[in-house]
């Protein structure tokens, strides 16, 4: 199941070059900047990879106004079907260029003609017209997306059809248009996109489901989604179907699961009505999926798994903050210790292949352990403290999170601190005290405080290992000095 991806896109190993090399690093920086400015727009383009016939050559030319008109006329009025289809193919290739797209939308009646061809009774003409629309949907200009407005009611209508390739094309086109223009979204909602997607999600075709997940994920990322879109999605049958697509088992398709996991993430982090999702069993489905992912990670070199792991971790972490997580009796719905085992297997995987995702994994670990003596005990009984400490050198962010998880354990009292002592913890703390990052040091001080409180024997060893000198380095630091002083006092009195 995991070893062979179906569907169009297959991820490869995220090469170290993305963060390590010069050019890829520039790309990474630019994307991060775009994300911060909320302009990170992802669009899929189903470009026909099959070599074109008739020796047209690989590079399509930009089309001028006359040529666009000519192709449209030929498509609409040609006598031979092959000729009409060919005209649309030529138009489609030209539309790969932004200039041609602009020319097309400025031409009066062009969209009407294209919509006429889209709704024609000639199937192959219809398909080519849809491909032209798809090219237009890839434009980064919202004016081009808005020029496609007359077509949307038909794209939605065709979602209830039976031709899976055509439906897939319509879905990707819709997804692209959704991303580009609020005007498009404002029209699609009253046109019934949510019920249309809810009907379409019952398709047995994997490619259709992946496309639907994509379109839905774009809809959910809209700025106005929490107020205007997510409530109607939650009121539909979509959430149950989405969760079904995420259930581990022979029917789980990785490409489909990735899309719906991201959809769920966008819904959950918008915090519209997470208890509803918990009621649908989201926690247990995602927990089981996490186990499945950990199993897969051990078996295969397929590095694409992090694309699914990331949103699953996010969903679980955010859901765990909901009060509804507590069932009658105050027990957490998610109690299976295997979740902790799975998480550490994933952390190891991230450590080796995708260090940038370590914080996300540790976030889940924090949320699992914060209010759960059971999970804290699991970390101790499964000998996971040492592996956790091995993550300290990765980065400051990771260090703070590791230390926070350790504080979650230590704050539960002497029974827990006894299990943290003796061991690698104190040497590790002495090491982090040498960091210059204030937050790392601050969290180390918190942990030291708990350790001294619940395991006083640690104080002596701390002193013997030059602990006081380690503390002194930070006496002048405003954010740290009170705590440094308090610890110094404790150490000296102990």
């Amino acid at each position: 199941m995991w070893s062979r991806r179906q569907g169009r896109l297959r991820p490869t190993v995220w090469s170290a070059g993305v963060y390590g090399g010069s050019e890829p690093r520039v790309l990474g920086c630019a994307l991060r900047k775009a994300r911060r400015e909320q302009q990170l727009v992802s669009k899929r383009l189903l470009r026909d990879d099959a070599p074109e016939e008739a020796g047209e050559g690989c590079v399509a030319a930009i089309l001028g106004e006359t040529e666009v008109q000519q192709f449209l006329r030929q498509a609409q009025q040609g006598t031979e079907e092959k000729e009409r289809e060919g005209a649309l193919v030529s138009l489609r290739r030209g539309l790969q260029h932004p200039e041609t797209q602009q020319t097309f939308i400025r031409l009066e009646g062009s969209m009407r003609t294209l919509v006429g061809l889209l709704t024609s009774n000639q199937a192959l003409l219809q398909l080519e017209a849809a491909r032209c629309l798809h090219e237009l949907s890839h434009s980064e200009q919202s004016t081009v997306a808005e020029a496609c407005l007359p077509a949307t009611s038909y794209l939605l209508t065709y979602l209830s059809g039976h031709s899976s390739d055509f439906i897939e094309l319509c879905l990707y086109t819709l997804g692209n248009l959704i991303v580009e223009s609020e005007a498009v979204r404002r029209q699609l909602l009253p046109q019934g996109i949510v019920p249309a997607l809810a009907a379409c999600i019952q398709s047995p075709h994997v490619a259709v489901l992946e496309a639907l997940g994509y379109a839905l994920s774009q809809l959910l990322q809209a700025e106005e989604a929490p107020e205007k879109i997510i409530p109607s999605i939650l009121a539909s049958t979509l959430p149950q179907h989405m969760l079904q697509m995420l259930q581990p088992g022979p029917k789980l398709n990785p490409g489909v699961a990735v899309e719906f996991a991201w959809c769920l993430h966008y819904i959950i982090c918008s915090q519209v009505s997470n208890p509803l999702l918990i009621g649908h069993g989201a926690l247990s489905t995602l927990g089981l999926l996490l186990l499945d992912l950990a199993g897969a990670v051990q078996k295969t070199e397929d590095a694409g798994l992090e694309l699914l792991a990331c949103p699953v971790l996010r969903c679980l972490s955010n859901l765990l903050t909901e009060a509804a997580v507590e069932t009658v009796g105050g027990q957490m719905q998610l109690r299976d210790e295997r979740v902790v085992a799975a998480l550490f297997i994933l952390l190891q995987f991230f450590f080796q292949k995708q260090p940038s995702l370590l914080p996300e994994g540790l976030w889940l670990l924090n949320n699992l352990t914060a209010n759960s003596p059971s999970f804290c005990t699991s970390l101790l009984s499964l000998d996971l403290i040492e592996p956790l400490l091995q993550l300290l050198p990765v980065s400051n962010v990771v260090s703070v999170m590791v230390l926070t998880v350790l504080c979650n354990i230590a704050e539960k009292g002497p029974a827990y601190c006894q299990r943290l002592w003796p061991g690698p913890l104190l040497p590790a703390l002495l090491h982090t005290l040498a960091f210059s990052d204030t937050e790392v040091v601050g969290q180390s001080l918190e942990l030291l405080h708990l350790l001294f409180l619940y395991q006083p024997e640690a104080v002596q060893v701390f002193l013997q290992q030059s602990g006081l000198q380690a503390l002194e380095r930070h006496q002048e630091e405003a954010q740290l000095q009170d705590r440094v002083y308090a610890l110094q006092q404790t150490a000296l009195q102990g």
Binding site: R36, S317, Q352
Partner: protein
């Protein structure tokens, strides 16, 4: 990062929760200047924490990190014709045939052979065009269902329904799949020689949509088609509704004549 060897075994074993060690907190733990409190953390949508993962998702969608995607070429087969009676469209690729079949022979009205893009629209068509009971009931109650999936509104006339779809659902006023039933015009005939192609809804509108530069030539007429009254009589199955329609037309015509004579 070294994991204990027993961890994989734990994952493979059955579910279970650890019996928690006793919790015993000292109030001094949270006393100033220390302020640690164990709490789950929540990150909202746009939080910077998600930056790295979001960039990665973006790149996935942009195909940057994909391997060469060997999308299989459309498998070509020796040319074959569509097997549906009356259709002699020829294909050399199975995908093309699949799409043709679903578009033209999929949701087809068994009464009038019109093809529709979905079962939903076909059902509405059959009800409104071929169900005599519908006609009778629609005189007394709102029967014209909104065509938008998920909308349960019903209307007295197809005109009212269209107004609703335009106003509430922002549908185009000339939505191709919502043509009102018109009275038959004997003048327009079925275009000859169009092997098995059927209109969707009613007439194909292509011929009436001008492209900016050129007028529609005469040859285009073959795409437009209307059912002729004579053709109705030639159909082997002449359903009740058609009879009523014809009678209704005749009756309405008679009424008009009577009224004008007063």
């Amino acid at each position: 990062m070294q994991l204990p060897p027993a961890l994989c075994a734990r994952l493979a074993a059955g579910p279970g929760a650890a019996e928690p060690l006793p919790v015993e907190r000292d109030p001094a733990a949270g006393a100033a200047p220390f302020h640690f409190v164990a709490r789950p953390v929540r990150f909202p949508r746009e939080h910077q924490f998600f930056e790295d993962g979001d960039v990665q998702r973006h790149l996935y969608l942009q195909d940057v990190i994909m391997q060469v995607a060997d999308v299989p070429e459309k498998p070509r087969v020796p040319a074959f014709a569509c097997q549906v009676a009356g259709c002699c469209q020829v294909f050399d690729a199975l995908d093309d045939y699949e799409h043709h079949y679903h578009t033209l022979h999929g949701n087809v009205c068994s009464f009038c052979k019109r093809a529709f893009p979905s079962g939903h629209l076909l059902d509405a068509h059959i009800l409104e065009w071929h169900d005599s009971l519908f006609q009778i009931l629609s005189e007394r109650q709102d029967m014209y269902q909104c065509l938008v999936e998920g909308c349960t509104e019903k209307f007295k006339t197809s005109r009212d329904r269209k107004d609703h779809m335009v106003r509430m659902h922002l549908y185009p006023a000339d939505f191709r799949f919502d043509k009102p039933k018109k009275s038959r015009s004997p003048a327009s005939a079925e275009a000859p020689g169009d092997s098995g192609e059927r209109s969707e809804g009613e007439a194909m509108e292509i011929c009436s949509e001008p492209v900016a530069a050129s007028p529609a030539p005469a040859g285009e007429r073959r795409i437009c088609r209307h059912r002729s009254v004579s053709e109705l009589f030639l159909k082997p199955v002449l359903n009740m509704c058609s009879v009523l329609r014809i009678l209704g037309c005749t009756w309405a015509a008679a009424l008009l004549i009577l009224n004008s004579e007063r």
